[in-house]
């Protein structure tokens, strides 16, 4: 059998994905594929107003429709439940967040009631008959306005400010006193978008009165977080909530905060006498009311630079907009600090960070969560300063990058960057795209009046976070460190079965986990079954289990590796006993009868069936000293973190730092002002690559999301809080038609912080957003235009270039030459 690995083993090989056989043949199992007996269907009735008092909800006409089993409204839910846990501190922790608006609706699309019926059609029909009387209130849709507290969203908090903190390090006074140049940038803005999973949210809940359990079949992507919220909210022991996930059609973090809808479905099931209740979100519902990414405004930025354009200090005020309810927030108020200086060496900085609620859809940790906003800000700072000082963008970066010999590098706020080589990535990217050639073409095209820009974006994808950073936003938060569980066993007949607490949505966990175990046991990955998808009752998860924040390669696979090692140790002891030899005389591999353990001296072997047999069903042959062998090994991997210093906001916030360097060549069409990508390269460094095509796939996916975000996708609200991008016709998510051919390359700087040298990856740092902004600015800088927003389309470039309403350098940027 072809079970013998090549030198170097299975980790690192281009192995086709195990899950593709199922997924590509249409045999994936998604929530909506599941049908249960007596199942009911839930439809939400949603507020058409962004901000309104809910005066009266009349469900009588809906309840009279044949097939309607029950309804739910805010007040009745509030009576039976506790408000959801708030992660942040007082006074904002005093707000009351329920699955339904109770006395007020705070964003367009917020559920005010639900109808539960025997078919989805009936639920839709009856939902139209729910009469809601609203009293309109002024809405506040802009975070800076919200901070004025003229219109309050949550009276219980008495303010719209969710959180404020100052992150100051180094000696700012000295940095600015000694600066040769000071660049001021009035206003930058990172827009709101969502990375738009193909599959919408989906929940089936069954509140079973017989055993007082709640059973969930859902596509939440961080179930161990959700159950902590649900147990407290519903007043049920956490052990009685069983969550299962299956195949998931994308999440990108947007599905982390689906616990309010999960709660609504459980309460509906309870009210319906314990019949299971299914809710399948529609696309419009998803667009207006699932979760969007964080929007952020950067005010009053001042940058100190030395004579050579090396940045010595940055001061700025950042205002984050988290929509109507914080939910996962205010974690985003600190998560960005994982990449506090980005890829740059400056030591002195002061960021005054606030977060506000607004009458918009709540945010969720969207791909690149909270770091991409900050990284975009830093890349804008770099390029704007470079242009002001007349230094080319590549040169500016080389002068400011953290140097390869400085790793592991401790940032001003105590994060430890494990490894990296940014100058090398820049070289590789330039080579791959033909930098010099493009520079020549650009110069020639400019002569012809064409607007071509070349931009660089260098970015970080920090993975495996230290939940201790939650204590920086709330000193009482009971979270720190990070852990992942995995289980590796020989089943009764000797099958190798691995269970993980992750819930992949395309990341290939079945394959990479099998590769790791295959190397430990020296067998073929096809001989290993990997159970992915979350299941509370497999008991492998920890409170941090799920799939989020670029970490599986480190935390998940370290747990898998640990569990496989543990199993191997047990198997060795057992093998030595059965083969009557020493452990040293044993080797692992596959033989005529499948996977086996062999004696090195005479080749005598015992296969896995026999090992499992004596432990599970034939145990009288075992000596007492082997009674502790179970061949069912759970291992919990823990990241070596400390609790950060809360006052100083100092400490290591993440374990690994993958990096990305993208270069885009963009031409702005002089007729329709639409930017067109002429050439694009993405260079990735995620340390040791476990499966190259999986990594490459993640890079393409993240690149598509980033290009979509930069040029096409924006969640737009009008001044009274109507969402104008509720359908795909308006939101225009990127499709293959809009994708350039992306050139891909990678370098490997192994992480010293993971057992395999791998770094977490997948989010990709939203590199294209930074890169395209840089390229557009390069195309337009000569005409006095600064790219001030992360979203740029034909319309906005027209307003910058022709009507000159926005992006005017002379109004936004000031250069002070001191000496």
């Amino acid at each position: 059998m072809n079970g013998e690995p090549q030198p170097g083993g299975w980790v690192g090989r281009e192995l086709p994905r195990k899950e593709d056989n199922r997924l590509l043949r249409g045999r994936g199992k998604f929530v909506d594929d599941i049908r249960l007996r007596d199942m009911l269907y839930l439809r939400f009735v949603r507020s058409p107003y962004a901000h309104a008092k809910v005066v009266r909800v009349d469900v009588s006409a809906a309840e009279a429709v044949p097939g309607v089993v029950c309804t739910l409204t805010g007040p009745e839910v509030a009576q039976q439940t506790q408000p959801f846990i708030e992660i942040g501190p007082d006074p904002f922790a005093r707000i009351k967040d329920y699955p339904f608006a109770v006395s007020k609706a705070r964003y367009q699309g917020e559920p005010v009631a639900a109808v539960i019926a025997t078919s989805p059609h009936i639920a839709d029909d009856a939902a139209e008959l729910v009469q809601v009387e609203y009293e309109g209130l002024d809405a506040v849709v802009d975070a800076e306005h919200a901070l004025e507290d003229k219109v309050l969203l949550h009276e219980d908090a008495g303010t719209n400010r969710v959180w404020r903190g100052v992150f100051e390090y180094g000696d700012m006074e000295k940095a600015f006193r000694e600066a040769a140049h000071i660049v001021s940038i009035d206003h930058l803005h990172f827009h709101r978008f969502s990375s738009t999973p193909l599959e919408n949210n989906a929940v089936i809940a069954h509140w079973d009165a017989k055993d007082e359990h709640i059973y969930y079949w859902c596509n939440n992507s961080f179930p161990s977080f959700a159950i902590q919220f649900l147990a407290a909210h519903l007043g049920i022991p956490i052990d009685r909530i069983r969550v299962q996930t299956f195949d998931i059609g994308g999440s990108f973090g947007i599905k982390i905060t689906s616990y309010p809808q999960m709660a609504a479905c459980a309460l509906a099931s309870k009210k319906a006498g314990g019949r299971p209740v299914k809710w399948i979100e529609t696309r419009s519902e998803h667009n207006i009311s699932s979760a969007h990414g964080n929007e952020r405004t950067f005010r009053d930025t001042r940058v100190a630079l030395d004579r050579n354009g090396v940045i010595t200090g940055i001061a700025s005020r950042h205002i984050d907009d988290c929509g109507a309810y914080p939910r996962y927030e205010p974690l985003g108020c600190v998560i960005w600090a994982q990449v506090f200086p980005g890829v740059y060496r400056f030591k002195n900085a002061r960021i005054d960070f606030s977060q506000a609620v607004t009458n918009k859809c709540p945010v969720g940790p969207n791909r690149g969560y909270s770091r991409m906003q900050h990284l975009w800000f830093l890349e804008r700072v770099i390029d704007i300063c470079a242009h002001e000082l007349g230094i080319p963008g590549d040169e500016m970066r080389l002068r400011n990058y953290i140097r390869p010999e400085e790793f592991p590098y401790t940032t001003p706020n105590g994060c430890v960057y494990d490894s990296g080589n940014y100058p090398k990535m820049l070289r590789v990217a330039k080579d791959r795209i033909g930098w010099d050639d493009w520079k020549r073409k650009q110069a020639a095209a400019r002569q012809d009046g064409r607007l071509i820009g070349i931009g660089i974006g260098t970015t970080l994808d920090s993975g495996t976070n230290n939940f201790g950073q939650s204590q920086i936003v709330n000193p009482h938060a009971p979270f720190s460190g990070n852990s992942q569980g995995a289980n590796c066993k020989l089943d009764i007949y000797g099958e190798v079965v691995v269970a993980v607490g992750s819930c992949p949505q395309g990341q290939g966990h079945e394959t990479t986990a099998a590769q790791v175990v295959a190397d430990v046991l020296n067998i073929h990955p096809d001989m290993i079954t990997v159970r992915t998808g979350f299941d509370t009752e497999r008991n492998v998860h920890t409170g941090a289990s799920g799939t989020y924040a670029s970490q599986f390669a480190v935390s998940g696979l370290s747990a898998v590796h640990g569990a496989a090692q543990k199993l191997k140790t047990e198997m060795k002891r057992l093998g030595a006993f059965l083969l009557e030899t020493s452990e040293k005389n044993l080797e692992f591999g596959a033989g005529q009868q499948g996977p086996e353990i062999r004696r090195k001296d005479n080749g005598q072997a015992v296969n896995y069936w026999r090992l499992a047999n004596v432990v599970n069903v034939n145990s009288a042959v075992l000596p007492a000293e082997l009674y502790d062998v179970t061949l069912n090994c759970r291992y919990v991997w823990r990241a070596p973190f400390k609790v950060p210093d809360k006052e100083k906001k100092y400490g290591n916030l993440t374990l690994t730092y993958a990096s990305q360097l993208h270069i885009a060549v963009v031409e702005i069409d002089r007729g329709i002002f639409v930017p067109r990508i002429l050439d694009y390269v993405a260079v990735d460094d995620c340390g040791k690559v476990i499966n190259p095509p999986i990594v490459e796939g993640q890079v393409y996916g993240a690149t598509a999301h980033g290009i979509g975000a930069a040029l096409m996708e924006s969640c737009v609200y009008d001044s009274v809080g109507n969402m104008l991008t509720a359908t795909f016709s308006d939101y225009t998510p990127i499709t293959s038609m809009n994708m350039p051919a992306v050139k891909y390359a990678h370098i490997e700087t192994p992480s010293p912080h993971s057992y395999s040298g791998a770094k977490g990856m997948g989010e990709g740092g939203a590199a294209p957003v930074h890169t395209i902004s840089a390229a557009l600015q390069d195309a337009l800088f000569a005409s006095g235009i600064i790219i001030q927003d992360s979203f740029n389309n034909g319309d906005s470039l027209y307003r910058a270039m022709v009507s000159k309403e926005i992006c005017q350098a002379d109004r936004l940027v000031k250069l002070e030459k001191r000496f």
Binding site: R43, P120, H121, D124, D125, E128, T282, S284, D669, G671, I672, F673, V674, L711, M712, V716, L724, T725, F728, S729, D730, T732, P733, I734, T735, M737, N738, N793, G794, D795, Y798, R799, V802, S803
Partner: protein, 297 residues
């Protein structure tokens, strides 16, 4: 969401369809490709009590050349027109059919449905406005033929009476020396354009003999910028005359600000599209093979 409940009727002939319409009354609607109607029903913006399905009627999906005209059956799918050799005789038809939305929509959506819907952003009416197009209508008793410009009355409003339907579209073959091009700017494939320009020119040597231009998505119905046409008609074709036509088109259009762009921006786009479409049309009129494609974000 699911549509409201409705009754489904399957017609076996155009006559039967018209009879069903008159029996069922105002609450009934025809169903062709369903690519406009069904999304509206799913959003519950349209809630017909009865649907009369045309999809099982034999022989109403065709493209043929007869008596100097291209005749197209009402149920002919955009994709069939895209692939048709007969329709390719008028290049602008191919430009239009190939650029509508995506494969799924083109495989279902029909030219009859598109004209009957009279969506201000629909491509067909704009393109066919530049040609001599007649819409043949039938109410079960009487056939009548209406020039397209009289057929499209307003946004979402046509000359059809309730129990009347589109039974054929006929398009005069343009004379020799005529060429056309249709270019739209679209933010993504499966969405309606932000703005579009259809141009059909007859060229003799360096002179433009005849010009007809229609602009899409920038008015309640396709806009005919007569000043832009006059800027070309009888003129020597030069950068200057083309720029003058583009400028006149910018002035003639009447766009609204919406998610697809601000009014001023759309005006700008119209100018650019007219310029490009004229340039392509001129080359095609001269017999060159010119690929034309929409512009995407």
């Amino acid at each position: 969401m699911y549509p409201r409940a409705f009754h489904y009727h399957r017609a076996s002939s155009l006559r039967e369809a018209t009879e069903m319409l008159s029996q069922l009354g105002e609450e009934a609607k025809l169903l062709a490709g369903g690519q406009s109607l069904i999304p509206l029903m799913k959003l519950r913006f349209a809630n017909p009590a009865h649907l009369v399905d045309l999809n099982f009627i034999q022989g109403i999906s065709y493209i043929k050349q007869e008596n100097g005209a291209i005749h197209i059956g009402p149920l002919t799918r955009h994709a069939e027109i895209q692939d048709s050799a007969a329709a390719a005789k008028i290049t602008i038809l191919h430009d239009c059919a190939a650029g509508i939305a995506d494969v799924q929509v083109r495989n279902r959506g029909t030219i009859g449905g598109s004209l009957a819907e009279a969506d201000p952003s629909g491509d067909w009416a704009t393109v066919l406005m530049t040609l001599t197009t007649d819409v043949h209508c039938f109410d079960g008793k009487r056939k009548r033929s209406i020039p397209l410009r009289d057929f499209v009355k307003d946004a979402y409003t046509t000359a059809l009476s309730h129990d009347e339907l589109v039974s054929e579209i006929s398009i005069q073959l343009p004379p020799k020396g005529s060429g056309g091009a249709y270019i739209a700017f679209k933010r993504a494939a499966p969405v309606y354009p932000t703005a579009s320009a259809a141009v059909q020119l007859t060229v003799e040597g360096d002179t433009c003999k005849e010009a007809s231009i229609a602009l899409g998505c920038v008015g309640l119905t396709p806009v005919r910028p007569s000043e832009a046409e006059s800027a070309l008609r009888g003129q020597r074709l030069s950068e200057k005359t083309i720029a003058a036509a583009a400028e006149a088109a910018r002035t003639a259009c009447d766009p609204q600000s919406d998610m697809r762009g601000s009014a001023e921006y759309k005006r700008e786009v119209v100018g650019a599209l007219v310029k490009r479409a004229v340039e392509a049309a001129v080359r095609r009129a001269r017999g060159e093979q010119v690929e034309v494609s929409h512009l995407y974000a």
